[in-house]
Structure formats: C-alpha cells, structure tokens
Symmetry: C2
C-alpha cells in the first residue's frame, strides 16, 4: 500500500500505510458537507449523534453515550448542556441509581432529529453511492470491529 | 443495518445507516490516542499528515496539499505557518508559476516525521490488528473510492 497514489497523482508515501489518515480525510469531507448543510442550526460536532443515540436508547446514561460517540466525558457533558438548552433532550435522575442521569429526547428534539436525518441523507448520498450495498455493509462491519477494540481498551 | 446494536447493548438506531457516524467514532478514538501519544510535541490535527505528504511529494503546492488532507485553504495556510515556524518545512516560490508556492520538508522535519511515524504505528496497531491484511487493503480501497468522489465534486 505504501506506493499508493491518489487520483490526482499526489503520492501518499508512507502515510498510505495508516488507515487513520484515510479515515480522517473522508470524515473531514463528510463533516464539512454536514456543517455547511446545517449551518442555520449551528450544530457542534457530536450533537447530532448524541441526539440520535438518546432517541434510539431512551434512558441511556452519560457514560454510555460518551463511550458510543468516542468523546471525552467533559465534552459529553457540554453537549448535553447544549441539548437541554435547545429543549431537545432532558436529564432525569435515574430511579435505580441517584448518582446517574438518564437521558431522554423531547418531542421537539424528535422533530429536529427528523429534519437533520433528512439533511444527512443528502450529504452522504453522493459518497455512499460509490459503494454497492454489500460493500457498504462490509465497510460498516470493518469499522465496527475496529471500534469494538477501542472501547474494550479503555 | 438499522437495527445494529453495539457490543455493549446500546442501539445505534437510524444512526447505524450512516457511515459518517461509524467513521467519526473510529477516527475520534485514533485521533485521541495520537494526541495523547504526541502530547509533548503539541501537534495540531493535520500537521503530521501535511508533513508526511510534503515529504512524499517534494514541491507539492498549497492547493494540492489542501485537497489531499481535506482541509480548508485557510487551515492549510495556518498549518504551513506552523511547520515553517518549527523549521520542519519551507515554502519556495515556484519557478514555473511565481504566484504559487512549492513546499519542501527540511532535514529537521524528516527527523521529526520519522519519530512521529513510529508513534502512529504503535497507536494504530491494536485497532488495525483486528483486520486481516486483505481486509485492511479492502478498507483502504473503499475509503479511497469514497474520497475520490469528494475531491471530484469540488
């Protein structure tokens, strides 16, 4: 892989051996498209993912959320402050364990989430359509296997 | 894919249909490991990739570099200022086109790059070893195909 060359003739050199670089540039691009498309909402990185995970897992804890989005706990706290300020999610004291917060999405949050999902579909479309459905499944599986080991190591 | 569940039982919900989320969390994790391992050097995101690409492509232009790392031109300029300040790279006026800068790595930059590559190998190792060499090649190919369409669209 070390002799990889890009479509434009630029050589990746030894950087081509590191998957982190390849991940980052695809992700930078998707991120930029997403930020541009949602500029009117002023969504910080991680806000949309957090909202989507809270919606899919009513009552999820802060620690679980933090692990799933791979963000530091302090960043997660500040994302949750932001979500509460917008009225899109709420923290409730867990009935099982008073020290822990259970997170829930609000109806307003669900409406916003619906709209943001529609935007993401559009921005990811061109890129994802480069891969066949089978390749997409495979890509997701490979990424999830890589992520699983990150989580185990902590 | 929409019913994907993580190893820890957290549901991805509709987020599981978006490859951007999967890319981001693996990349966040690799990035965090990299930042921790190179904390003494205080490397900003993109600095290492830029240095490696300049090393592999002596005389590369600012615009080419910006496209390869998927960073805005203004960010690229500030990364190059940083690299020059550290004495790791230099800008020279192109002899063919006086308006454009040709970028070169310095011997000091090459020494630093060597050390940083050694650190990256260590931080990426645990994650990359989840995949077989064939799977790694495939992952790189899929990511590059996705990136190629991003570049074409600009």
């Amino acid at each position: 892989m070390s002799k990889a060359e890009t479509a434009t003739g630029v050589k990746l050199g030894r950087l081509g051996d590191y998957v982190g670089f390849r991940l980052r540039r695809v992700q930078n691009q998707l991120s930029r498209d997403f930020v541009n498309a949602t500029a009117n909402r002023g969504l910080r990185s991680g806000l949309f993912s957090s909202l989507a995970l809270i919606s899919a897992n009513p009552g999820i804890s802060q620690a679980e959320l933090s692990r799933e989005i791979a963000m530091d706990k302090s960043v997660t706290v500040s994302l949750l402050d932001d979500l509460e300020r917008r009225g899109w999610a709420t923290r409730k004291r867990s009935t099982q364990d008073r020290r822990r917060h259970a997170l829930y999405i609000t109806p307003e949050g669900e409406r916003e989430l619906e709209e943001i999902f529609a935007v993401v579909s559009t921005t990811e479309n061109a890129v994802l359509h480069q891969l066949s459905p089978a390749e997409l499944m495979l890509l997701s599986e490979l990424l999830d296997r890589m992520y699983a080991v990150c989580v185990r190591e902590e």
